[in-house]
């Protein structure tokens, strides 16, 4: 909460500065000004060795990205760098030459603001490059330039090798990957990512390492290389100090790997983590939808039915509609309905890469069907099962029911001579499992509490003030005691019982 307030305050200040320095701007703070204030923050971060400020800058990246254009970037570069800086020239060379309209704006702005006299820290250059890269990625015509810039920036970043650059570096890697992906050459970038990942792990550069592991996983999964992705996961440790968004991505990718390997419980845990750590649904709807799509399928594969309210969520409603149909089919245990739904939405599922996963649900449909039958009948002939579940033959029905009994889906037995299935009574709902579930939840709550205690920040030397205050209090107390001592006997009567009490 405080962070958000701080940000809005900053913006308000920026606005105020804008108005005094330059001609009045429209109400939202201009992107160029925001970049400038961000640059100031980065300089402060480098000067005070506090990555916190850099983080704050990077948080605005998403909203800033959407408002970038050539003119804004030009203006920002012009104002951040001194007149004859070589870095400025190299940065400007990436941007198209300014049109006359832009020039007039530059000239308007330039004399008012004080020109910097020396080059800002290299972090600023990388930050500006990151912004330019994001700008290039927003339109298809500049992909080629984006690729050049990405390669150039990576080389530059690696040559500079500054620890204070790491948080920005992590974001740059994201942009680099995006560049390669949009150019359709993601596989070619893999060796570069792998090398960079090794370097960053040697340098304990957690943020970059987390970002790169995610980049690699994404590129593996893009090409369905689940084996390699799994090996990467087992050979690396994901840095615990990585940011939430990186963790959310990581858990999502892990979930995808696990579900392919039939490890549904683990996949479910990972996806839950991904959902919890993901930014709010409205901010990042794409990720939210993708995770939920997969999580619905995993829940079904585990034999659970996802909650109905999930499908009414405003962000998810539309995206999950096909999945809702599947859920209904599984819930009613109707194979024919399941098959028609599957073929109806095949293209969509394939695009989501969930087609084969949903294909695996077939057996769950049958299991749910048998379970429903076993709950509603105490004795049912195999023929009827066959008819109700649209199975091909009684023989099949017998094997299937046998398997269901062995797997513990239903409690009952088959009487072969009579050709029916007898269903056992329902087990009570209370047992050690309840305690286990309770324990899991409490465990989660306690973990959450401990994590949040750890996540609090304690400003350096803040306890000094308290110490001083305590010192003052002690002084006052002494004085009071003195006064009481001096002040006389008439208080003694009142004091004595209390004194004994102490």
């Amino acid at each position: 909460m405080t962070d958000v307030e701080m940000k809005t305050e900053d913006k308000a200040q920026d606005k105020a500065q804008d108005k005094t320095k330059e001609e009045p701007k429209p109400v939202p703070v201009s992107p160029a000004a925001e970049i400038k204030s961000n640059v100031a923050l980065i300089e402060r971060a480098v000067a005070t060795l506090e990555p916190r400020f850099t983080m704050r800058v990077l948080r605005t990246l998403t909203s800033l990205r959407k408002r970038l254009n050539d003119a804004v970037l030009r203006e920002a570069v012009e104002e951040v760098y001194p007149k004859d800086s070589s870095i400025k020239k190299s940065l400007l060379s990436w941007l198209p030459a300014a049109t006359s309209a832009d020039h007039s704006m530059d000239i308007d702005g330039a004399p008012a603001s004080s020109k910097p006299t020396s080059d800002p820290v290299p972090e600023v250059e990388i930050y500006l490059r990151l912004l330019i890269l994001h700008h290039f990625l927003s339109s298809q015509s500049t992909y080629g330039k984006a690729m050049e810039l990405a390669q150039d920036t990576v080389a530059k970043m690696q040559a500079l090798n500054r620890r204070s650059m790491d948080p920005i570096g992590a974001k740059v890697w994201y942009a680099v990957e995006r560049t390669y992906e949009l150019a359709g050459e993601l596989a070619d970038a893999r060796p570069m990512f792998l090398a960079a990942q090794r370097t960053s792990s040697l340098r304990h550069d957690d943020e970059t390492q987390a970002s790169l592991i995610n980049r690699l996983l994404r590129s593996y999964l893009q090409y369905s290389l689940y084996d390699q992705a799994d090996k990467l996961v087992s050979k690396t440790t994901f840095p615990a100090s990585a940011s939430n968004s990186q963790f959310a991505r990581y858990h999502y990718y892990l979930g995808r790997i696990k579900v392919v390997q039939l490890n549904y419980t683990a996949a479910h845990t990972n996806l839950q983590q991904a959902i919890r750590r993901a930014p709010p649904a409205k901010v990042a709807p794409g990720f939210y939808q993708a995770v939920h799509k997969l999580s619905v399928v995993v829940e079904l594969l585990m034999g659970d039915i996802p909650e109905r309210s999930l499908f009414r969520h405003p962000v998810l409603e539309k995206a999950l509609s096909a999945y809702y149909d599947i859920v209904t089919a599984v819930r009613t245990g109707s194979l024919s309905q399941f098959q028609t739904t599957l073929s109806k939405h095949a293209a969509l599922f394939e695009a989501d890469k969930t087609y084969t996963l949903i294909g695996r649900l077939r057996q769950n449909v049958i299991k749910t069907g048998i379970r429903r039958l076993s709950l509603s009948y105490s004795r049912i002939s195999l023929r009827d099962i066959c008819v109700k579940l649209h199975l091909d033959s009684e023989e099949d029905a017998e094997y299937i029911v046998g398997k269901a009994i062995r797997d513990g889906v239903i409690d009952g037995r088959i009487v072969h001579e009579k050709g029916w299935m007898e269903c056992g009574g329902q087990k009570g709902g209370y047992g050690p499992e309840v305690a286990e579930v309770f324990q899991r939840r409490i465990g989660y709550c306690l973990e959450l509490h401990n994590q949040s205690v750890k996540a609090m920040r304690y400003p350096l030397n803040a306890h000094r003030k308290e110490l001083a205050a305590a010192e003052g209090a002690r002084e006052r107390e002494k004085e009071l005691a003195k006064q009481v001592q001096e002040g006389g006997g008439d208080l003694d009567d009142d004091d004595s019982p209390l004194g004994e009490g102490f």
Binding site: L225, Q261, G402, K403, R413, V415, H416
Partner: protein, 266 residues
């Protein structure tokens, strides 16, 4: 490096003995051993990006023949080795090399192999990484066969798996399907143990796909089933009802842990 001069001759000989009916396995094995040494000398066994295309195609062909021969010789570990070598050709060189006719049969064989070894997780991982769009999985006969087998196995339609032997797209699949039967029989047996109390001998034989009573009796003895010869029934020993015990130690530990955590919080 250019391939040694005797390689082409050996390769042609291999092709001849591979295509002759019946296939001369022993001869093939000897030729393959020689050819593999030749490939290593030419640096083609593990393909390099700068190798010539024609050489790569030949190398892939040799390995493919090797894979199929090892199935015919019922040598699964050897098939495994050939397949891992072929994977480089299939996955990393797919954009350069012309597609091979034998690629999907061999991929399918590999899928079935995973199925018979009960490596279901690997089966699905391999299936997901196939470079095929989802609708082609069901239309490609070589791939759809193992996929259907897996689906039926998971559902429990064992009789369909049994009948699927006739549907095998190429001869080599049958070898695996036969060995799959052993796995299935054990599956069915374990289902029967829990699902039935008693079962007539005759029906048990049909359920387990045994053609003669004596086979069934032998199998039943292995699994320690009680056979009532007079009544002609099998009785399955009921496992004792599992007693529900309160996991005392676990509960105590959990309570202590809660107490400790609460102490920290308050």
């Amino acid at each position: 490096m250019s391939p040694p001069s005797h390689l082409p001759a050996l390769y042609q000989e291999l092709q001849r003995s591979f295509e002759s009916r019946p296939c001369n396995l022993q001869n093939c094995g000897q030729l393959l051993a020689k050819l593999k040494i030749g490939l290593i000398e030419a640096g083609l066994l593990v393909p390099q990006p700068n190798s010539k295309l024609e050489d790569l195609v030949v190398a892939r062909d040799i390995l493919e023949i090797g894979a199929i021969c090892s199935i015919r010789a019922q040598d699964v570990p050897s098939f495994d080795r050939y397949f891992s070598q072929l994977q480089t050709f299939y996955n990393d060189f797919s954009s350069v090399l012309p597609p091979s006719q034998r690629e999907y049969p061999i991929r399918g064989l590999n899928l079935i192999r995973l199925l018979t070894q009960n490596r279901i997780a690997d089966f699905h991982t391999t299936l997901e990484s196939l470079p095929l769009p989802a609708d082609e999985i069901s239309s490609n006969p070589y791939i759809s066969h193992p996929v259907n087998l897996e689906r039926r196995l998971m559902e429990g339609s064992y009789s369909k798996v049994w009948h699927a032997r006739e549907e095998a797209p190429i001869e080599e699949y049958k070898f695996f399907v036969d060995s799959l039967m052993g796995t299935i029989r054990n599956e069915i047996a374990s289902c029967e143990e829990t699902a039935y109390e008693t079962l007539p001998l005759k029906d048990a034989a049909t359920l387990l796909f045994f053609s003669s009573q004596s086979e069934l009796v032998k199998f039943a003895q292995e699994r320690e089933w009680q056979i009532d010869v007079v009544g002609g029934t099998i009785t399955f020993a009921k496992k004792g009802e599992e007693r529900v015990e309160i996991p005392k130690e676990k509960l105590i530990l959990a309570d202590l842990a809660y107490a400790r955590e609460l102490e920290q919080i308050v």
